[in-house]
Amino acid sequence: MVVDQPEPNRYESLTIDDEGIIRLVWPTGVVITGPSARAAFEQVNRLSADRRRPMLVDMATTKSVAREARAVFGERSAASRIALLGRSPVDRVIANFTLGVSQVPCPTRFFTDRDKALEFLRVGRQESAE
């Protein structure tokens, strides 16, 4: 279900799929700022409705992530496990800067393969269900 209308420079879409995985997609060439990261996180929390869920973040083609945004990613949220999905070496650098600079509050990894990313999230869902 689509619950939020994308705005310029903000996330493109934020949904929960049939498996209960949050899917956050950033638009092509986006510069993720502190406020846009904050807006995305607040929406994630609202969507999850007091439950912690795994989250797939599609960040391929992200242009850059501001330092303030990276600090937001270090905060605890409704996400129980995060897979950062990219394609290029640039995505990998950005993702790892995000992971390295912030102390991430839940297991977070970078993937270039969507299936492997979903597999990582599903493992987590099983763990939290057990």
Partner: protein, 512 residues
């Protein structure tokens, strides 16, 4: 991912970015290409590293700025503590010394020499002890305010400690300095309100006019000497320093150092002045008076050393010596008259009354010499009693419980009322000689003294009039109903042995 072609300009741009970063320009960033290949990843990495570095620098600079501000604040606070008096906010001795050196240096470069005023409050200890330290502190703050109000912007008012203040007047002529001293005296003579009471914090001021080339510390020393001269010459006055004042200051120091050994070397003496019954002429007692048989200066009167003794901390020892000696001398007593018909009066200073073991000391001495307590009367001056606190009253009550008498001395020189006296544990009043000086020539004074004697009698107290020098004075006092008297008419102070022999055969003036 394929290797970038050699002609790819992005690597050169990256090298330029690194050079600029190395030069300290942390704002330089490169745009990654749409290819988002490994070279773009390196570019993105450098951009992010530059961000981090920039942020770390900013954070560091901000912290340095904060710490510097804290250090500056701490330094100012330390400076304030080191250079200013915390109670009054005035300069302290260190800052004064610094400003004096500056003023002296400016005088050497052509400015006028500085003058220094040194002020010491005349009755601060009395106020502090009598009304409490918090009142004393308020008084000091008020004095600081008044002094600051009378000086120029360029002058420095300092508190040197206790109740001592100094004012540095740089580049000033003598007339201006005197005017400031006068204004300070006037300001300090105005009353200071403490609740519903008022106290008068009068000060003595020493003034030293500087001369070109005079060392700063000598200015302060000379002002101090002048201040002592002002105190000695009458309180609430100012004195300009004169070189001969040093002799007096040296003499005081000499006395203070010699007093320390005066007791050990048996140089103190007690003389006794008789107190007589004006109707019969019979001696009823004697007042013990201290003298110092100085090895080179001869017999010294109390006025020449008691002030120094009080200031140098010898007073309690001397007071104890007087008590022990007077009681010891009382041990010798003839068969007649009965002991209780003759009392020995001993003076106590407020500092002795406040000494905690006074009653025990008296009791021990009386017991050791077999002297009944009733044969001893302790005299405390009206001013001393008025400025005392409850502790003094307790001490007097303890002496009364022993059985000794308590007399108020120099009555008429202070401001106590008869109703106040009635509440005190005393049994006699010694009327000051100043009240009877004109009694033979001034009818108003006769009525005045008569009224005082009646009030004393009405309060249930016995009156002894001091300073009787003529038969006329004695007769007038007897007519007014005065029972007891003391003065040269009845005898000058004499050794105890003389008193003893006179007890055996009195030949004294009586009221005819």
């Amino acid at each position: 991912m394929s290797e970038p072609p050699a002609e790819d300009g992005r690597l050169d741009q990256l090298v330029d970015q690194i050079v600029q970063l190395a030069a300290g320009d942390l704002s330089v960033r490169l745009e990654a290409s749409p290819a988002r290949d490994s070279v773009d990843a390196v570019i993105t990495g450098f951009n992010l590293l530059a961000d981090e570095l920039d942020m770390m620098y900013r954070t560091l600079e901000q912290r340095v700025a904060e710490r510097t501000a804290e250090l500056d604040q701490a330094k100012r606070e330390l400076e304030r503590l080191a250079l200013y008096d915390p109670l009054t906010g005035l300069a302290n001795r260190s800052l004064l010394a610094d400003r004096m050196s500056q003023a002296v240096a400016r005088a050497e470069r052509g400015a006028g020499p500085p003058s220094v005023l040194l002020l010491d409050l005349d009755e601060f200890k009395t106020i502090n002890d009598g009304l409490g330290h918090s009142v004393g502190d308020l008084l000091l703050v008020e004095i600081a305010r008044r002094l600051t109000a009378v000086v120029r912007d360029t002058d420095t008012v300092a508190r040197l400690g206790g109740d001592e203040f100094a004012i540095l007047l740089p580049d000033i002529d003598e007339d201006q300095a005197l005017r400031i001293a006068e204004r300070a005296l006037t300001e300090l003579q105005k009353p200071f309100a403490v609740g519903e009471r008022a106290v008068w914090p009068a000060a003595s001021i020493g003034i030293c006019f500087g001369t070109r080339g005079q060392a700063a510390d000598l200015l302060l020393r000379d002002a101090d000497t002048a201040m002592y001269a002002a105190k000695a010459g009458g309180k609430g006055t100012a004195q300009v320093f004169r070189p001969e004042m040093h002799h007096a200051a040296r003499a005081r120091l000499q006395i203070a150092s010699e007093l320390g050994s005066a007791i050990e070397q048996n140089q103190l003496r007690l003389l006794y002045q008789p107190i007589v019954d004006l109707r019969s002429g019979a001696p009823v007692g004697a007042e013990a008076l201290i003298r110092w048989q100085h090895p080179t200066r001869g017999l010294l009167l109390p006025a020449e050393f008691i002030g120094v003794a009080e200031g140098s901390g010898h007073m309690v020892d001397i007071g104890h010596w007087v008590l022990r000696t007077a009681i010891a001398e009382l041990e010798q007593w003839p068969d007649r008259p009965a002991r209780e018909s003759f009392k020995v009066h001993v003076n106590l200073l407020p500092v002795e009354v406040r000494w905690p073991g006074l009653a025990e000391l008296v009791a021990d001495a009386l017991r050791a010499h077999g002297v009944p307590a009733a044969q001893l009367v302790l005299e405390i001056s009206e001013t001393g009693l008025m400025t005392g606190d409850i502790g003094d009253l307790e001490a007097l009550l303890a002496l009364r419980r022993l059985g000794s008498g308590i007399a108020i001395d120099d009555f008429g020189t202070g401001y106590s009322s008869i109703s106040y006296l009635r509440r005190l544990p005393i049994d006699s009043v010694k009327v000051d000689q100043s009240l009877i000086a004109d009694i033979t020539t001034d009818p108003t004074q006769v009525r005045f003294v008569g009224a005082i004697l009646q009030l004393i009698e009405a309060a249930g107290l016995a009156a002894v009039v001091e300073g009787i020098e003529s038969v006329e004075q004695m007769q007038r006092l007897a007519e007014l109903g005065c029972r007891y008297g003391q003065g040269f008419l009845f005898g000058r102070p004499v050794p105890w042995s003389t008193i003893m022999s006179s007890l055996l055969g009195p030949t004294r003036p009586t009221v005819s």
